[in-house]
Assembly symmetry: C2
């Protein structure tokens, strides 16, 4: 937690990964992010992984450091309260549909400088999710060694869209500071996906080649990079991006003469050309496989580290979480009370600002924990009016039996 965005308040009406990620990143940088949900939780409130008591370990991590207002969004009075909160705040992040009661035009009535950042599925408004956008742009057909497509497990499009939405929110605020104008920023998952294909050269590549890139298994396209297995059975990823790393890798493996022999036979030099190391991988891979298969991982890792070679062993997520450098001793992690009652290391902002003190991560709120505070402060609702709304089931508050604080 840092305070870079102190003074910024954002209303978030969202679910799943992309839109909550935008709010999370802002909250971890010190913005006040008020997530407004259906009383009892939105569609992602029980998303797996869950505890035995059905508390979502997913929800309570994607919604850290936020406040929670719970409303009955199925009734007009609840919807009007959310609209009023958005208007009273001026910044809104959502993945609700373009039309309907959370349309930008409806919300901007009486608040012309409102900024709405809206995560969408397809750009035309039809529904899509990370896993349906991903296969529609072609990545599963390039993943693995074939012939079956392989889906990613990491919801990369959701995460990238969320980060981009946080960036776009601040960009729109910057413009408003200059022009006084608000507006809506629409970010479809589908445009993030196909736009990224383009940014990485993929659109140009397939049109230039008139064909798809071949499937490469665990090899990296266009340079020397692949997984290899050591004598003691450790699979390790090695990637070379500089001439110095290439020279040091060859030296560490004692492959100087063997690589020169390939260069002579093929009439090329691998010293400075990533592409040639890839083109001639049929000759190079067997040399490296053999040289690595007769060395133990610890021995190789020390030699690679000394040579500035980029490498890392494959491990499971459970093993990764036990790595002190990644989690226990990593200053981005800290302990919080969690709504689930389960204690574990929680992550804060990815960024580290050496000049500033990092505050520990904050917990996710219980559903409705801040309903009274926010509706009272922001909409000036009286205690009597709040009591009526709570009694009528329009406003929800966290129950006293709920865990966490």
């Amino acid at each position: 937690m840092y305070d870079l965005l102190a003074g910024l308040s954002v209303i978030e009406a969202s679910s799943f990964v992309a839109s909550p990620t935008a709010g999370l990143y802002c909250a971890q940088m010190g913005a006040e992010v008020i997530r407004v949900d259906q009383i009892g939780g939105g569609p992602d409130f029980r998303r797996w992984p869950v505890t035995e008591a059905n508390d979502s370990l997913y929800w309570e991590n994607l919604n850290r450091a936020k406040k929670s207002v719970a409303l009955d969004l199925g009734r007009p009075e609840g919807r009007e309260l959310l609209q009023a909160l958005v208007r009273a705040t001026g910044q809104f992040v959502t993945n609700f549909p373009v039309g309907g009661f959370l349309s930008h035009d409806a919300l901007a009535e009486g608040r012309p400088d409102l900024i709405t950042v809206r995560v969408m599925g397809w750009a035309d408004g039809s529904p899509a999710l990370d896993y349906t956008v991903n296969n529609s742009v072609g990545y599963p057909m390039l993943t693995g060694s074939g012939p079956e497509p392989v889906n990613h497990v990491l919801p990369a499009w959701d995460l990238l869209t969320g980060a981009y939405a946080a960036f776009a929110l601040l960009a729109a605020i910057q413009r408003r500071g200059t022009t006084g104008e608000g507006g809506e920023v629409r970010i479809p998952l589908s445009d993030v996906a196909i736009g990224t294909v383009a940014n990485l050269g993929g659109v140009a590549e397939v049109l230039y080649a008139g064909a798809n890139r071949p499937r490469l298994g665990n090899a990296v396209y266009g340079l020397f990079g692949r997984d290899f297995v050591t004598r003691d059975g450790q699979r390790t990823m090695i990637v070379v991006v500089t001439p110095r790393q290439w020279a040091n890798l060859i030296a560490a493996l004692g492959l100087g003469a063997a690589v020169v022999a390939v260069e002579t036979a093929r009439g090329v030099s691998f010293a400075t050309d990533d592409g040639l190391r890839f083109t001639h991988r049929d000759a190079l891979y067997p040399l490296f496989e053999a040289a690595i298969a007769v060395r133990d991982h610890a021995d190789l890792a020390a030699a690679f580290d000394a040579g500035g070679i980029v490498h890392s062993p494959y491990r499971t997520m459970h093993d990764a979480v036990q790595d002190p450098a990644l989690v226990a001793d990593n200053p981005i992690f800290g302990q919080t009370h969690n709504p689930s009652g389960f204690a574990y290391p929680a992550a804060g902002a990815f960024a580290t600002l050496p000049q500033l003190d990092r505050r520990p991560p904050a917990p996710a709120p219980r559903n409705g924990a801040h309903s009274e505070e926010i509706l009272s402060d922001r909409l000036s609702l009286s205690g009597t009016e709040l009591a009526r709304l709570i009694d009528a089931g329009i406003v929800g508050v966290a129950k006293t039996g709920d865990r966490s604080k």
Copy 2:
């Protein structure tokens, strides 16, 4: 291209994906992003995919809408010019090492309000790349149907880090506007990766379970989502996230009675519980496989669309790029002149702002195309001095024979 960040100027000294992505997103939102490279191009200048003339289709897409200053960064005078440009500008994005001539402390001498956003590999400064961070946090061991780990092809950690860096840059600028203070923002790929594992509930999950999640092939964890194959051989991804989608999917496939039979046999109701649909996938998947295997894709797609069901066919990247909705008719795309001379649709900002006119995408610069303009304007170098620096090989300018403008 939008002008949300008009008036912001950023110096970028970077390579590969993450740091250039941060600059790209800023440039596409109207910032002036000046990429400073070694004369003749940095280590990513020939990164694949390339044309037959060895022009990088990757580089010319990740560096659109930027300006290019070329310097000999191997010589003190070239390094001092880059330092002076950073100081004269006040905002700097880089993936150069923490120490050395581009350390924040060195750059901030005489420019205390400087903001440096630095993308790193490992948090301790040792080198890492997307593909070595990925296997170190466990995703390849969860991807595919096993037993071998499967690397992702999309450099998801690079992209997420780049987007987060763009966000963090604007957040730091927001703070400087309030406090007057600059500072360094360090964003290690490794912290983005393990922090994301945490944000998605993964750290809590493996510690709660004391074990790794099973490998699920193309199924989505914790809900009903998987690939199925139609009668005409089209593999299609289907994901259900709402009770309405579930009811409509069952109706579209005529599976009402069969699903009720499973519910009765297992003593559960799938109507509103994602988790139960996942737990009992052994009983559900065969029903859906059989029902989908006797229908053609076009027929099913129409029924799914009518029911608001989230689905999409698998296709190759080459096929995706031919989809008019994704590329040819998509307003985020446009044509530019490219340094490679090859013409193809280029992407602009992922976001769409309905109230504003979108300007077409801009091309990447030739190496050194803006050296004279920037060094003259920003550092007030005279024509005589510039000529001396060019003659001495300290400053590079785009050659007249270079393609594009």
